[in-house]
């Protein structure tokens, strides 16, 4: 009984995604409202930075006595140039606020002004309906459609029209594969792409690229790209899983949302491609995660010598098997899409569904 990690590559399902602000703010939509990817669903005020003003030094007073010279108190709003402290009498002096903001704290001999905040906007990121509201934080958006999870992304988010440039999982995206009229397109590549293709994609104003593997040498260019890049298999030249490619090809020409945000470690988030479908089509709920691996399951092998190979579990041997590395582990027999039958340890499997 083994419960493998999973990757979603589903052609039709009900998808719910939480969209929340990193800090408390205001939700701008109501429950049940239909939203487009570019709609602002919530906003928050971001701190605008701090300014320390040396009051005692400027007024030539003892630093323990500044409170009696202050014209503003803690939490009071201040405008740039407005007097905040003054010394009257023969040696009259005035200290003015350097920025618009509020007086955040009074310290020994100095005050702290927090500048006015900038507005942060949270976009819906996908087409759908607001299923629920999270007060002061954001919303959950629900849609019916296809979903493909990636393993790495360059942190950007966008939406566009899906365009399958790859014929097979082994296709390499070159500059020639990107047509001049690719503006606004999200391009599906196969096992990798060249630097020239990436540079031309930037020039052609594509909205995103979905690719199987990525060479580490492309990392600086990938980070510099202004559009999201979602990697489905991993680092290196790795053919895109045929299951994933089939889902993407079947939806070529449809509007997609690409979220290239990835987090590893203590907090995890995977990049994903969401393809909302037209209303009225049948949908199934996202299935429960808690299912043991069984015969017939579609799996992907994650390590050499079969990295990225996809197949079907045909047997779960009771006894462990010795791997070329010398380790003896339990695992499964997988019939790959190429027809080859191989053994893979449980730890190196991921279920695709």
């Amino acid at each position: 009984m083994y419960y493998p990690p999973e990757t979603r590559a589903s052609s039709l399902t009900t998808i719910r995604r939480e969209r929340t602000l990193p800090l408390p703010g205001r939700v701008l939509v109501h429950k049940g409202q239909r939203v487009e990817p570019w709609d602002v669903v919530a906003q928050a005020a971001m701190a605008g930075g701090y300014h320390i003003v040396e009051i005692a030094q400027a007024l030539k007073i003892h630093k323990d006595n500044i409170r009696q010279y202050l014209l503003k108190q803690e939490d009071d709003q201040v405008k740039a140039g407005e007097p905040i402290a003054a010394r009257r009498g023969l040696f009259r002096r005035v200290v003015r606020s350097p920025v618009n903001g509020f007086l955040a704290a009074v310290g020994v001999g100095r005050v702290l002004i927090e500048a006015d905040s900038a507005l942060m906007e949270l976009h819906a990121g996908m087409r759908g309906r607001v299923a629920s509201l999270h007060p002061n934080r954001g919303v959950t958006i629900e849609t019916v459609g296809a979903i493909v999870q990636g393993v790495w992304g360059n942190g950007r988010e966008s939406h566009g029209v899906l365009k399958a440039a790859a014929d097979s999982p082994h296709s390499m995206l070159t500059r020639q594969d990107i047509e001049v009229g690719s503006q606004g397109a999200v391009i599906v590549a196969g096992q990798g792409m060249t630097l020239e293709a990436l540079e031309f994609a930037q020039e052609a104003q594509v909205r995103g690229i979905i690719v199987g593997g990525l060479e580490v040498s492309l990392l600086p260019a990938v980070h510099a790209a202004e559009f999201p890049i979602v990697v489905t298999e991993g680092w290196g030249t790795i053919p895109m899983s045929p299951v994933i490619l089939d889902v993407l090809k079947a939806n070529s020409g449809r509007e997609v949302s690409l979220n290239g945000r990835v987090r590893t470690g203590w907090e995890q988030q995977r990049p994903e491609v969401i393809i909302p479908l037209v209303a009225g089509e049948p949908s199934s709920e996202e299935q429960a995660l808690d299912r043991p691996l069984e015969e017939g399951a579609t799996v992907r092998i994650l390590r050499q010598p079969y990295t990225g190979a996809t197949g079907t579990v045909v047997a779960l041997p009771a006894l462990p098997k010795k791997l070329p590395a010398g380790v003896t582990l339990r695992g499964v027999e997988v019939e790959l899409t190429s027809g080859e039958r191989v053994f893979a340890p449980f730890a190196n499997l991921e279920r695709i569904r």
Binding site: Y3, P5, Y50, S217, T264, W266, P324, A325
Partner: protein
């Protein structure tokens, strides 16, 4: 429950990458390892609940052992019922929670901040920012204020000044840090571990809004360090504010008869216990646990103890950070063949994305083990500042080395684990005992030791650890190929003698449980702990690997040319029986010649 009533123990360790469930049972009056399972942990997305992984691991262990452990409602059957149903007790350790975010502030980077940093290493802390009056980058007060705000600390550790020393610089720093914490809507607590004379002034500076926890000065004098009170405070805050909020922890707490311990503390208990048993208190016990997100070094000698918890340094999801702390060449130097830097980078970055995976090919295995050497070396370098060991030429003199963690306990052969430990630790002189936590239960046994010390003592004495063997590491240097020492080994298996050359490893096969008498006669350039050129006679025990004479120099001296270095690595691997490729190639060549 009395010792003799405990017949079965389930040890659960919930790590950041994997969750393990290990069943130990009494057979012939002794505790024995019965079954073990390891599944991906579920503290993170999409589950956000560690209990899912715990159930998976228990179900798998139950299936392997042929024992029913959970009832129809999913509750652990405790104590054990007739027909071997359930278990008597469950012991648990956890390292799945994120670390405590700490900002440290002190007068000088080289003195007080060093002590503060060492204090944070005692538990699962991440130093998210540090403020020092002598910062080389000369940040303005506003920049430092912004930096503390952005770091989002969960606790501030303020240190500085010696007891009875100057107060003004410490007060200036305290005023700044008070301002930084008071700005937050929900201000984090502040631990003050500086000049004790300033406690009341700092308390009035902070007012009622900020919780102040004043403890003894980490640097009471310029030459002494007192970390324990600050360490205890950080540990308590970690357990109260971070670990306690791990989703699903309550289930483990309900099931375990003692407290659920952080995994690193579990290892610490075991190392301290073994130090007490130590027949050679002059030397120490070193425990190393290489985890997925965290590596831990526990060091004890004659009652003195240090624990170094390196969060963000491991073989799982934090493996990518290694590339920021070490060069690719520091990894590839341990490989017997040419491997491109990009291949190493791809492996590291893919492992970061799927940390639970294991190496299937020999090359991947050797790369991962090379990375492990570097991870352990970095953890030891951090631990070195505060550990209680004697050192010679930068190498610790030890009585015992214990290896824990998947990369070591899942190594295909004991030779792999031995070589990883030797290469990373590089002990000096005679290390009588090298052991491996093959079952992965050791830190959890440490947790059990707090409530059932007798059971744990029995487990440690009888079979919980795999004896790898003993190591002799002469200290000195010479040309590669020069003679280092002559040896004679006698045991009930016979006698054997030979010479060992500089740059080589010599493995003398003496099985576990067999005592051998070893006579060593070093040349005048080499020291075995009794003076250069002086011979020693010792009685030592064998192990799964045997007795190893490590004549590679301390610190290890690398051949300059890459080809020569790769050949040397091949020979070390072959000597410990962990690499077959060359032997197979040579055999194939021989067959072709015939």
């Amino acid at each position: 429950m009395a010792n003799d009533q405990i017949k079965s123990i389930l040890a659960v360790d919930c790590g950041s990458t994997t969750t393990k469930a290990i069943l130990l049972d009494v057979a012939d009056g002794q505790y024995r390892f019965v079954a073990r399972s390891q599944v991906p942990s579920t503290g993170n997305a999409p589950w956000h609940d560690i209990t899912v992984g715990i159930y998976h691991a228990i179900q798998q262990t139950a299936k392997i052992a042929g024992r029913r452990m959970l009832d129809e409602d999913g509750q652990l059957v405790m104590p054990e019922r007739s027909g071997r149903r359930g278990v008597d007790i469950l012991a648990a350790t956890v390292s799945a929670s994120p670390p405590l975010r700490v900002v440290i502030a002190g007068l000088s980077q080289d003195v007080s901040l060093q002590s503060a940093r060492r204090a944070t290493r005692f538990t699962y802390c991440q130093v998210v920012d540090q403020i020092a009056l002598d910062e080389p980058e000369h940040r303005s007060d506003v920049q430092r204020l912004q930096s503390v705000q952005n770091a989002q600390p969960e606790v501030i550790l303020l240190v500085g000044g010696v007891d009875g020393g100057a107060t003004r610089p410490v007060m200036n720093l305290a005023r700044f840090m008070a301002l930084a914490v008071q700005l937050k809507t929900d201000p984090p607590p502040m631990i003050y571990a500086g000049n004790v004379a300033l406690r009341s002034q700092i308390a009035s500076l902070l007012g009622d809004q900020v919780e102040l926890r004043a403890v003894d000065n980490v640097r009471p004098t310029l030459t002494s360090e007192n970390l324990a009170p600050a360490q205890a405070e950080l540990e308590q805050i970690f357990r109260e504010t971070v670990m306690a909020h791990l989703p699903g922890l309550n289930l483990l707490k309900r099931w375990s008869m003692g407290d659920v311990l952080p995994t690193a503390q579990g290892l610490g208990h075991i190392v301290r216990y073994l130090d007490r048993l130590n027949s050679k208190p002059r030397h120490g016990v070193l425990g190393i646990d290489v985890g997925g997100m965290t590596s831990t070094v526990a060091a004890a000698r004659g009652g003195r103890f240090s624990l170094t918890v390196m969060t963000g340094l491991g073989m799982g999801a934090s493996i990518g950070k290694l590339l920021q702390r070490a060069t690719i060449e520091q990894v590839t130097r341990w490989l017997p063949d040419e491997v491109s830097p990009d291949q190493v980078r791809h492996l590291v970055m893919n492992k970061e994305l799927r940390p639970w995976t294991v190496a299937q090919t020999e090359q991947d295995l050797l790369i991962e083990q090379a990375i492990a050497r570097q991870v352990i070396s970095l953890a030891l370098a951090e631990a070195r500042g505060g550990w209680p060991f004697r050192e010679r030429q930068g190498s610790p003199v030890l009585n015992e080395i214990i290896g824990c963690g998947s990369v070591l306990c899942h190594a295909p052969t004991p030779g792999h684990a031995t070589l990883m430990l030797l290469d990373a630790v590089q002990p000096a002189f005679w290390t009588p005992r090298l052991v491996l936590d093959k079952t992965g239960a050791l830190p959890t046994l440490g947790a059990l030791a707090t409530v059932q010390p007798g059971v744990v003592a029995q487990m440690l004495e009888r079979g919980s650890l795999v004896e790898l063997g003993s190591v002799i590491s002469p200290v000195g240097t010479a040309r590669h190929g020069s003679k280092v020492l002559s040896f004679t080994v006698k045991s009930n298996m016979g006698a054997y003698e030979g010479d060992v050359r500089f740059g080589s490893l010599e493995r003398i096969i003496v099985p576990a449980g067999v005592k051998a008498t070893l006579e060593l006669r070093p040349t005048r350039r080499f020291d075995l702990g009794v003076g250069r050129g002086k011979g020693v006679r010792m009685e030592t025990w064998g192990g799964a690997v045997g007795i190893i004479i490590d004549a590679r120099g301390r610190p290890l001296v690398w051949p300059e040319k890459k080809e020569v270095r790769q050949k040397a690595v091949r020979q070390w691997l072959q000597e410990l029986g962990v690499w077959s490729s060359l032997a197979l190639t040579e055999t194939a060549d021989l067959l072709r010649d015939l």
